[in-house]
């Protein structure tokens, strides 16, 4: 059986009565989904009755099939269309909202898996200058999305602090003048954080996110300082410091710092210890992210990488541990990837995650700006350029207009390649309503922006994670925990929603 799964041999099917849907054999039960984001989990016996056209209006199963758009003769067109609008809300906003600015390529760490293609701290020639920074912000404000989110990336952005400050103040002035909604975020390694910098970030409502891979021995192995030294202790120190200040001031409670962990081969045996550290630090969420074979990580894949199936096993095992903590009442920590997928599946909403969209976030949802003003479809696209391949470059802030960027042939290629209805396997996959493919990942791993899904690590790991999430949804014990996560996450968004245009807003 292929990974898409197949019907039972010889089972009768009446295709005329079936509405548009995809199915997946989950082993003892079947998952059904449709274009409008609705899903049903049926026992295999019920699934076979449904496929054979033997579920009539008198059948107890019928109302559920009908209400979710699986009975062709009873489709509520307007409701299904409304579901589609809600599920794909990102499609109705013109232009990208996320703008990642690489203010320097310099970094003081030498991470084993560095995605960002950094250079030595002495290479100040890779710092963005003020003129380029101004042009970059001006370009960003040309783009038509009413909401703009500027995210500082690197290298280590704090190594070019003057430009971070300039962009923050200049963008906020432009947002106020133009009545645009602006969100600001900084992704840094905390090793160069100071009280003064923190004051500035709080005063300007810049949210902060860092990398924390786990206990010291793991984090320091994954993310060592250049020349040696302990990095994890600094991260933990500043996380605690910032949390202390946020918790002391109700106005700052939305600015609680976030942390991202990247899973390397060395992380595989550390699942519970990583979670325990996040719990100990009072983090609300942990994001179990796989490593991508992009940039430097591609070159050292044999040392730090792993098979997609190994990640899925790690993910399931660690998620089980997190759910157990929730059930036992020891912690209410949430797992971010699960939350993203649950928002899509259960709530029928788009959580704003660029990687899992159809079409992908490239240009339509995000843009990345290099230190020299070059514009790329995404930060991963910029990393490919750093290796000498400019295929994902779509402009330059010195000379390009927004119209030229959105019309660029590379933009069109990325959109076409990442539209799941164009992908031979994806268009029949039960996870299609919630999934997405990433052109840069597939270019790097398979030398094609389209990729080849049966052999794609992206597909294997995402399909595996979807399998895990749907199995948890069918399990009442896990479902109860996940429903609580969804309630809490919704509350947080509602609480921070009413920020007037022109005012900075928190990014999480």
């Amino acid at each position: 059986m292929s990974r898409l799964t197949a019907l039972t041999k010889g089972a009768p099917v009446d295709t005329e009565k079936l509405a548009a849907f995809n199915f997946r054999d989950m082993g003892g039960w079947h998952l059904l989904t449709n274009d409008w984001g609705q899903f049903l989990m049926l026992s295999t016996a019920d699934f076979e009755r449904f496929m054979a056209g033997k579920v009539g209006p008198e059948d107890p199963l019928y109302p559920e099939l009908e209400s979710r758009g699986f009975v062709k003769a009873r489709l509520d067109f307007k409701q299904l269309a409304a579901n589609y609008v809600k599920k794909n809300s990102f499609q109705w906003f013109p232009g990208p909202s996320l703008h990642m600015i690489v203010v320097t390529l310099r970094c003081n760490q030498k991470c084993q898996y560095c995605h960002s293609s950094v250079v030595d701290p002495s290479r100040t020639d890779t710092d963005m200058d003020i003129a380029t920074a101004k042009r970059t912000v001006d370009f960003i404000f040309q783009t038509p999305n009413p909401t703009i989110c500027i995210e500082f990336q690197g290298g280590e952005p704090l190594l070019n602090w003057p430009v971070v400050k300039f962009i923050t103040e200049y963008a906020q002035a432009k947002a106020k003048a133009g009545n645009r909604k602006l969100l600001m975020a900084l992704v840094c390694n905390f090793t160069l954080m100071t009280e003064d910098k923190l004051d500035f970030l709080f005063d300007h409502h810049v949210s902060i996110c860092t990398s924390l891979d786990g206990p010291a021995e793991l984090h320091n192995k994954n993310r060592p300082f250049l020349g040696g030294g302990e990095a994890q202790q600094k991260v933990v120190y500043w996380l605690e410091k910032i949390q202390e200040r946020c918790n002391a001031d109700p106005k700052k409670k939305y600015y609680l710092p976030g942390a991202l962990m990247t899973t390397t081969r060395f992380s595989m045996d550390y699942g519970p210890q990583i979670v325990d550290l996040y719990v100990k630090l009072g983090m609300e969420q942990i994001f179990l992210r796989p490593l991508s074979p992009i940039g430097y990580a591609k070159r050292v894949w044999k040392d730090v990488g792993y098979e997609a199936e190994e990640f899925v096993k790690f993910y399931e095992k660690t998620l089980d541990y997190i759910i157990d903590l929730n059930v036992s009442g020891k912690s209410n920590i949430m797992e971010r990837m699960a939350l993203i997928l649950l928002s899509k599946v259960v709530k029928g909403e788009d959580p704003g995650f660029m990687d899992l969209r159809s079409p992908a976030g490239a240009v339509l949802g995000c843009l990345a700006y290099n230190y020299n003003g070059e514009i790329f479809v995404s930060d991963e696209g910029r990393m490919v350029d750093h290796q000498g391949d400019a295929i994902f470059k779509v402009g330059d802030t010195a000379k390009s207009t927004w119209t030229e960027v959105i019309d660029h042939p590379t933009t069109r290629a990325c959109v076409t390649a990442s539209t799941l209805d164009n992908q031979p396997m994806c268009h029949q996959c039960a996870f299609k309503p919630y999934c997405g493919v990433e052109p840069v990942f597939h270019y790097e791993s398979q030398k094609s922006v389209f990729g080849q899904m049966p052999t794609s690590g992206w597909c294997i790991s995402h399909m595996g994670v979807f399998d895990v999430i749907f199995r948890k949804l069918r399990d009442p014990r896990s479902r109860k925990v996940m429903d609580k996560w969804l309630e809490r996450d919704q509350c947080r968004w509602q609480e921070s929603e009413n920020v007037p245009a022109g005012e900075p807003e928190v990014v999480r």
Binding site: K72, Q142, P424
Partner: protein, 190 residues
């Protein structure tokens, strides 16, 4: 007009899935060769099944795609998968592919109609269901004359826009994505 025909004529009833009738399966120590009747199996289904095999096998297609196609399957790891297993998996997927494609084809006009409705709701042209009067909706198999007329109208509008685009050699931009923020504000103000 293709879409018109699809709406006017009810989708052809597909036969219940039955065992794929490969004309012949030839097995050797290294490969499996399946000869398939294209009219009976459907070219999309054959392509789809071949694509799904690519994680396990090298697949080559030959023959006349209007009559008979030969699918050759050679295991990527011959020690792990035997040609017979590849042939069985291909045929199992082929049966499912036929169902998947039949369902997709039968529902194409409905999916298009709902997608169009979604665009209209998103643009504010029609209200979302919560704001609309709670009139019972006709079912998919009983499209009213009004609905048919509405679909025809929408299709002709799109065709007209495409024609304009082709005539003037300009790209469509119904959502105004290509306009900068300033241009959009100026347009709004005027």
């Amino acid at each position: 007009m293709k879409i018109k025909k699809k709406i006017a004529k009810p989708a052809r009833k597909s036969a219940p899935a039955k065992k794929p009738t490969a004309v012949a399966v030839k097995l050797s120590a290294a490969e499996a060769v399946l000869s398939l009747d294209v009219k009976q199996e459907g070219l999309e289904s054959v392509y789809g099944s071949a694509y799904l095999m690519m994680d396990k096998a090298f697949v080559s297609l030959s023959g006349d795609r209007t009559k008979t196609v030969a699918v050759t399957l050679r295991a990527k790891d011959p020690k792990a998968v035997k040609p017979k297993a590849l042939a069985d998996e291909f045929l199992s997927d082929l049966a499912s592919q036929k169902v998947r494609w039949a369902v997709a084809k039968n529902n194409l006009p409905i999916r298009e109609y709902i997608a169009e409705q979604a665009v209209l709701i998103a643009n504010g042209t029609v209200p979302p269901p919560s704001a609309a009067a709670a009139a019972p909706e006709p079912t998919a198999e009983t499209l009213t004359d009004e609905q048919r007329a509405e679909i025809e109208k929408l299709i002709s509008e799109v065709e007209s826009e495409i024609k304009t685009m082709n005539d003037k050699k300009v790209a469509l931009d119904p959502k105004g994505v290509k306009a900068s923020w300033e241009e959009a504000q100026e347009k709004k103000a005027s």
